[in-house]
Amino acid sequence: MSFIKNLIFPVKTTDPVATNSDCTNSSNAAPEPIVEGLFTPKTLYKFNGHDDEKIFISVKGTVFDCSAGRQFYGPSGPYSNFAGHDASRGLALNSFDMADVRDWDQPIDDLKDLKPEESEALDGWEEHFKKKYPVVGKLVPEEGSK
């Protein structure tokens, strides 16, 4: 009787914690969260407010979570070019031009060519970010890159 019941009315079971379950392998599975602490220009780029709702910006190697300033740094915001990027040179030069923001596939800007007054302006911006936004990590070069 039990066999017939199981044949006619099979009971579907699931194991959502099994590492080899269908759901784990599914393309719909959520991406693994990034460990806060170390970002490369490539992993930082994702947090531009568009690909991911969070907005992370790097200033002098420190990565800040600027999601609270979405009206400034989010898509369509006046400083949206900084979102998901190292904004150090742009802030130092007081320029929002994309030419002053390095793309994710370029090496990290060493900022050695900044003038003293530009470095001073950048320090001011760094202080401002520290006061206003939480720190979520450091910007490090891509493994293998110089």
Binding site: V11, T14, S21, T24, I34, K46
Partner: protein, 542 residues
């Protein structure tokens, strides 16, 4: 040649065509099941909103899908104040109840029913509750008492009135003790007790002792009836004061002597979370009657408040006995019940015993109907075809209270048991998981399962506790023996708007230190509460 043709014809008619017909029928049946599902598998596999980043040795922060990252958690009643919305407080909640009552042409005489073992069944209308609680609060205010204590069961008749008197009056705090205090409690001016408890109460010093079931009075002792017989004070008036939201109208000391204070915001966010947690078309309405059977469980406040604010009725009792609860269900025909796991286990066992006594065609038929219902549930389809008793005709939802990290044998409720319970009662079931009452500290449950989640797990070793409630966010931290990186397993840390404040500088200092261990910023580790997150965003115990 004709012989081969005839064989081919026979094969076509008796093998291939039936096989193709069966295959088509299976496809149609599969499509039919898919169209009947309450929720799609994809939704069940994404039940939490998970932060994009995490700290090392921790999981990412998990939230309920209804309060995703980037949006605020549920913080209160969203009371309109000009162009702004504010969280509100217990006096706002009280104002809504009174305003609702005034609008009714014939107010119900039984908005709140208390099944009290001492006083019997008490039927209360909102105006009665308002009058009685006003009499209590004006007496306490008149005598300048500010903290009122009691050891009565939390949702007993007298304790309920004391709570509501303190909730509706600025400057009063109700201090509830689960066990008798052994040392002099700080700041408690008044202690309310039964005559039989008087000897214990008199061992400590209070400004006033109120005895419920005695009319005699002496120095420092008055009877309950004496206070209630005072003239009725003026009607309730409420003007909003932002400072009230963070004041403490309630305090509780657990059996482990841990004391926590709870703000107005703790209460209103718990209430709002309860109202908002049910899916569309199944929300709480004024037609709902909620029966709460855990009369001493702090986390039931949210259900009590939510039922009243939507205009529904509440039945309060304190029992885990199946026969008692069944008799209340028969008497009041509630649409929603809140019970502990023991009731569910006993209901399923009782059904199995009854069925095992039966024999013949009727027993086989019942067994087949139940198997079909379980099959439908496992496919995500709710069915009431296997309901066995008319007792559950009005029941639409059961909240099952589970206390985490307890070794109670009744808490071994498996997903198969739950499915069977759904089938035989024809009721949806939401499991709510909270801290044990002896721990305290939270005014709401931590986890709750999805309304539509009928999945049956392939192992009974794990238990699906669901996702975090709408007022909390949660992360796990690494502990020895559990793998945080691969398994997402660790110890639970929470933060949110239903977390109570430890009472006293020493306890507060310990809590602060504990919080700093897990990153500060309001995080609170729940020691010993361990488990893992599944790929579906649900938390699993075991």
């Amino acid at each position: 040649m004709s012989f081969i043709c005839s064989i081919f014809s026979v094969l076509l008619h008796y093998v291939v065509l039936p096989f193709v017909a069966l295959y088509i029928l299976l496809i149609i049946y599969h499509e039919y099941l898919s169209s009947q599902r309450d929720i799609q598998d994809l939704a069940l596999l994404n039940q939490s909103n998970i932060a994009a980043t995490r700290k090392s040795n921790e999981t990412a922060i998990y939230r309920n899908n209804q309060t995703p990252h980037g949006l605020p958690l549920v913080t209160g009643l969203a009371v309109r104040d000009g162009f702004k919305l504010r969280d509100g407080n217990l006096r706002d909640w009280w104002s809504v109840l009174i305003a609702q009552e005034k609008k009714k042409e014939s107010p119900e005489s039984d908005r709140v029913i208390v099944e009290d073992s001492k006083t019997g069944t008490m039927l209360l209308s909102m105006s009665q509750i308002q009058t009685l609680s006003s009499q209590l609060s004006s007496y306490f205010k008149g005598k300048e008492y500010t903290v009122i204590g009691s050891v009565l069961p939390l949702f007993s008749y007298h304790s309920l009135l004391l709570s509501l008197a303190c909730f509706s009056t600025n400057g009063l705090t109700y201090h509830h003790f689960i066990d008798f205090p052994r040392t002099q409690p700080e700041e408690v001016d008044v202690m309310v007790c039964y005559k039989s408890q008087l000897t214990f109460v008199q061992r400590l010093k209070y400004k006033l002792i109120i005895v419920i079931d005695s009319e005699s009075t002496s120095s420092g002792i008055v009877s309950w009836d004496q206070i209630i017989s005072e003239p009725t004070p003026t009607a309730f008036e409420h003007t909003h004061d932002p400072k009230e939201t963070l004041s403490y109208p309630f305090r509780q000391t657990t059996s482990l002597n841990a004391t926590h204070s709870y703000t107005h915001q703790n209460f209103v966010s718990s209430c709002a979370s309860m109202v908002k947690s049910l899916p569309m078309a199944h929300e709480l309405t004024s037609n709902d009657t909620i029966m709460i059977t855990q009369g001493n469980d702090l986390t039931q406040w949210g259900k009590f408040m939510a039922a009243l604010i939507v205009g529904g009725k509440v039945i309060l009792g304190d029992s885990d006995d199946k026969e008692v609860i069944d008799s209340w269900i028969e008497k009041y025909q509630p649409s929603i019940i809140s019970v502990n796991e023991k009731y569910v286990t006993n209901t399923v066992n009782s059904y199995d015993q009854e069925e095992s006594k039966k024999s013949g065609v009727a027993a086989s038929f019942n067994s087949l109907i139940l198997s079909r219902a379980i099959h439908m549930f496992s496919e995500g389809i709710f069915t009431s075809s296997a309901q066995q008793s008319s007792l559950f005709n009005s029941l639409r939802l059961t909240y099952i209270t589970h206390h985490i990290a307890t070794n109670d044998p009744a808490s071994n409720l498996t997903s198969s048991d739950l499915t069977k319970y759904r089938a035989i009662t024809s009721s949806r079931a939401i499991q709510t998981t909270s801290l044990p009452p002896s721990t305290g500290g939270l005014l709401s449950h931590i986890f709750q399962t999805n309304y539509y989640d009928y999945r049956i797990l392939s192992t009974d070793k794990l238990r699906n506790l669901g996702t975090v409630t709408l007022t909390l966010e949660l992360k796990l931290r690494a502990v020895p023996g559990l793998d945080i990186e691969q398994d997402k397993a660790g110890e639970v840390c929470i933060r949110g708007f239903v977390v109570g404040t430890p009472y006293g500088e020493k306890a507060l200092g310990v809590a602060r230190k504990d919080g700093e261990e897990v990153g500060g910023e309001g995080w609170c580790p729940l020691r010993g509460v361990r488990g893992r997150f599944g790929i579906d965003g649900c938390f699993y115990e075991g």
